[in-house]
């Protein structure tokens, strides 16, 4: 655990030193929240870059409340963005006008792409008023920190710590740069950006053990609150199913993953879009998905 923590901190610091327009994606889930905590460790209590949340507006409401509470408490430079057009024209899966995968593409991939390159509006938290305001900064982010893990699904196991994306956010898997020892790709051509993955070597179990060790606050949706169900992985409400589980504490969850009922069931088995993509996220991810 110590080795994982040190490696992640090293990567975060490399990213901070080498990229001028850097941001971190925060999905409010346990992984990116653990990553946010690692950032506070790397920078001695501070978070020296903005956090970006892609809001699909189908997130479970509790997630948004939790986001804003921590943003104020931890003094985070919080930004969110969305695909307003798709939401207004109802071109989504919940509205019945798109498949799950198309919906993921519109609300997440397209929104992410356009928020990162600055062509769609970004909304930034004003700490004085507690409200979000249109952000005047539209510079493209050239370094984007993402909390994906190699053990989540096949295409993520092929990732680099520093992974280049082309002008259209595309990912060329066969053409990935080499990573020698502790040296990463930090040079990039104009118009392209680099995705940075500090959690690549962590497993789901590692994340929970770390959350316990550090007492990191996580959203309560991960715990059973009396109805025998909890979320193992968080996404949009229409496409994420809770699992049958009575785990009501972090210890229960660790037990369940280590030797209990989930010790050999894939984490993302409750995520419907994976099944539609033939059991993985490869097509989405080649197109710029996180």
């Amino acid at each position: 655990m110590e080795a994982l923590e040190n490696k992640s901190i090293h990567i975060l610091r490399e990213a901070y030193s080498e990229f001028r327009n850097l941001c971190m994606l925060w999905s409010i889930g346990k992984d990116s929240t653990a990553m946010l905590w690692l950032t506070r460790k790397a920078f001695f209590g501070h978070v020296p870059f903005p956090l970006v949340h892609i809001d699909t507006h189908f997130k479970i409401p509790e997630m948004i409340a939790y986001r804003d509470r921590l943003a104020l408490e931890w003094d985070l430079d919080m930004i969110y963005g969305e695909n307003r057009e798709a939401l207004e024209s109802e071109g989504t899966f919940p509205a019945g006008n798109a498949t799950r995968l198309e919906c993921c593409k519109y609300l997440k991939t397209d929104a992410l792409k356009n928020i990162l390159n600055g062509s769609w509006p970004r909304y930034r938290l004003n700490h004085k008023t507690g409200k979000y305001e249109m952000d005047s900064n539209t510079d493209a982010y050239t370094g984007v920190i993402v909390g994906i893990r190699a053990d989540e699904e096949g295409s993520r196991s092929k990732e680099r710590y520093f992974s280049p994306r082309d002008v259209n956010s595309g990912w060329e898997i066969g053409e990935q740069p080499p990573e020698f020892w502790n040296q990463f790709k930090t040079d990039f051509a104009p118009g392209t950006h680099v995705r940075i993955h500090p959690l690549l070597d962590w497993t789901e179990l590692d994340i929970w053990k770390y959350i316990k060790r550090e007492s990191i606050p996580v959203v309560s949706l991960y715990f059973d609150r009396g109805n025998g169900r909890r979320y193992r992985s968080l996404g949009c409400a229409p496409c994420t199913n809770p699992v049958e589980s009575t785990a009501s504490s972090i210890d229960d969850i660790i037990e369940e993953l280590e030797s209990g009922k989930f010790s050999n069931i894939a984490e993302r088995s409750g995520r419907a879009q994976d099944i539609e993509d033939g059991g993985g996220l490869e097509d989405l991810r080649r197109g710029g998905y996180m």
């Binding site: 080795a3 506070r40 920078f43 096949g154 080499p178 020698f180 280590e258 490869e282």
Partner: protein, 462 residues
């Protein structure tokens, strides 16, 4: 479950290398399946997919997750998977054996502490069987186990197996590699992977799993001199924070509060005032492997790229010329009189190829006369940097004796430093610096003497 042992603390990264189609992914797939490390339903899911596409089931499909890979039956990029035994947690890194994807093999291997090298018993030693072994030695991996796979195709014959072992051992001796074990296996039939099979009764060694368990975890160089490449100097003012923190990962040695530190190449000195951390108890000592930070007693101007060392320990080398081994991966050959950038530790310096000592073609493992370094060549060469930088030779401290070369935004080569060459320019500059210092000192002392000789000393406000 009555064994309430928590998960093992130790972890190890193992890379699996070898020529294309020699069965690397199959070995891993088998290892995962036979140790019960696959998620429930995964095996059936892959079997079902194969049945639907009228393809014979292969263990490799468990790993080769990408659609292209399954279609072409090759691994394109290194994938990682995890499994646990009682002793430790393994991360198994699968790498492509195809020549085109050597970049990925290097990436996979440079994250590993030990390697399994797979050779097809039927096809024998091929181009990448040699190249990968050579790269492993250059990347610094010393624990290697050779798996002679597809023994079923040669009827588990001992004489044929021994012939491959003999010839490959001769080759490994030439590049100074000594493998821990040779194991005859059949990944498709599961022979000698997790249990010893009767099909090769003549084989008396360990299984692949046993061989893995006998590998030793890397020991961090705690007892070598301190090397902490400075990643950044942080002064975050939020919340009234006034600390100025020198941050970095300790590559070797240790730091304690009160230690006298010297930063290279600048040669600036100070003393460690406090070791800083967030959400952890205050530490007064931190050792190799830790990403840490400290504040200084005397505020000196330090930048990213310097290496912190201790005043009472051996200093790193500082020069502008080195002899190094480079493995080149760039699309364009490395040539003289072309500017490149070199990353070593956290420093970045401009560099040119001054001369080539010798070039090795890694498919043949033989030296060839050349005036440039082509893709997949390994060259011993002299590099000249445009300013002084701090480092160690690979023999002294591995972590600060490695570098990469960046050409046109891309990491195009990796290398190890064999020797610091004392180029004349540096000596002259050093002499000038020390002469200046002496001159300054005598000048200052002279001034003080003069002042002291006066009756009254006037201090002018500055």
């Amino acid at each position: 479950m009555n064994d309430n042992q928590s998960a093992p603390n130790e972890s190890m990264n193992i890379v699996v290398v070898g020529h294309v189609d020699h069965g690397k992914s199959t070995v891993i797939g088998r290892l995962l399946a036979d140790t019960g490390s696959l998620p429930r339903g995964r095996l059936d899911q892959v079997r079902e997919k194969c049945r639907r596409n009228s393809k014979p089931f292969e263990y490799a499909f468990l790993l080769d997750a990408l659609k292209d890979e399954q279609e072409q039956g090759i691994t394109i990029d290194s994938a990682r998977c995890f499994f646990r035994t009682k002793t430790r947690r393994y991360t198994i890194i699968d790498t492509p054996g195809h020549v085109e994807f050597v970049k990925s093999m290097v990436t996979g291997a440079s994250r590993a502490e030990a390697a399994l090298l797979v050779i097809d018993a039927y096809e024998g030693v091929q181009e990448n069987s040699k190249r990968h072994a050579f790269l492993l030695s250059m990347l610094g991996i010393k624990q290697i186990c050779i798996l002679i796979n597809k023994m079923d195709l040669i009827g588990y014959r001992k004489d044929l197996y021994e012939d491959i072992v003999k010839r490959y051992t001769e080759f490994l001796n030439r590049i100074n590699l000594t493998p821990q074990y040779f194991i005859p296996i059949s990944a498709t039939e599961g022979v000698n992977i997790t249990y010893i099979s009767e099909k090769s009764v003549w084989y008396k060694g360990p299984t692949v799993l046993e061989a893995l368990e006998m590998f030793k975890a890397d020991i961090l160089p705690e007892h070598k001199p301190l090397r902490m490449p400075v990643q950044g100097v942080y002064k975050f003012t939020g919340g009234g924070d006034t600390r100025r923190i020198i941050a970095g990962t300790i590559e070797s040695g240790r730091i304690s509060t009160g230690d006298k530190v010297i930063f290279y190449p600048s040669g600036k000195k100070s003393t460690i005032k406090s070791i800083e951390a967030f959400n952890s108890e205050n530490k007064s000592i931190v050792t190799a492997g830790f990403a840490t930070g400290f504040t200084l007693e005397e505020q000196i101007y330090i930048k990213r790229g310097e290496i912190a060392s201790l005043a009472n320990e051996a200093a790193p080398q500082v020069t502008t010329k080195i002899r190094a081994n480079i493995f080149w991966l760039g699309r364009e050959a490395m040539q003289r009189e072309r500017p490149y950038s070199m990353k070593v530790g956290t420093a970045r310096v401009g560099v040119t190829l001054e001369s080539i000592v010798k070039v090795m073609d890694t498919s043949e493992i033989k030296y060839i006369p050349k005036d440039r370094i082509d893709k997949y060549d390994v060259a011993e060469c002299i590099l000249k940097t445009n300013r002084e930088f701090a480092f160690d030779t690979i023999q002294d401290i591995v972590q600060t004796g490695r570098f990469v070369i960046v050409d046109n935004y891309e990491i195009s080569g990796g290398g190890i430093i064999l020797e610091a060459l004392n180029d004349r320019q540096v000596k002259i500059r050093r002499n000038v610096i020390s002469r200046n210092r002496k001159w300054e000192m005598s000048f200052i002392f002279g001034e003080i003497k003069k002042l002291l000789q006066r009756k009254t000393i006037l201090f002018k406000p500055i």
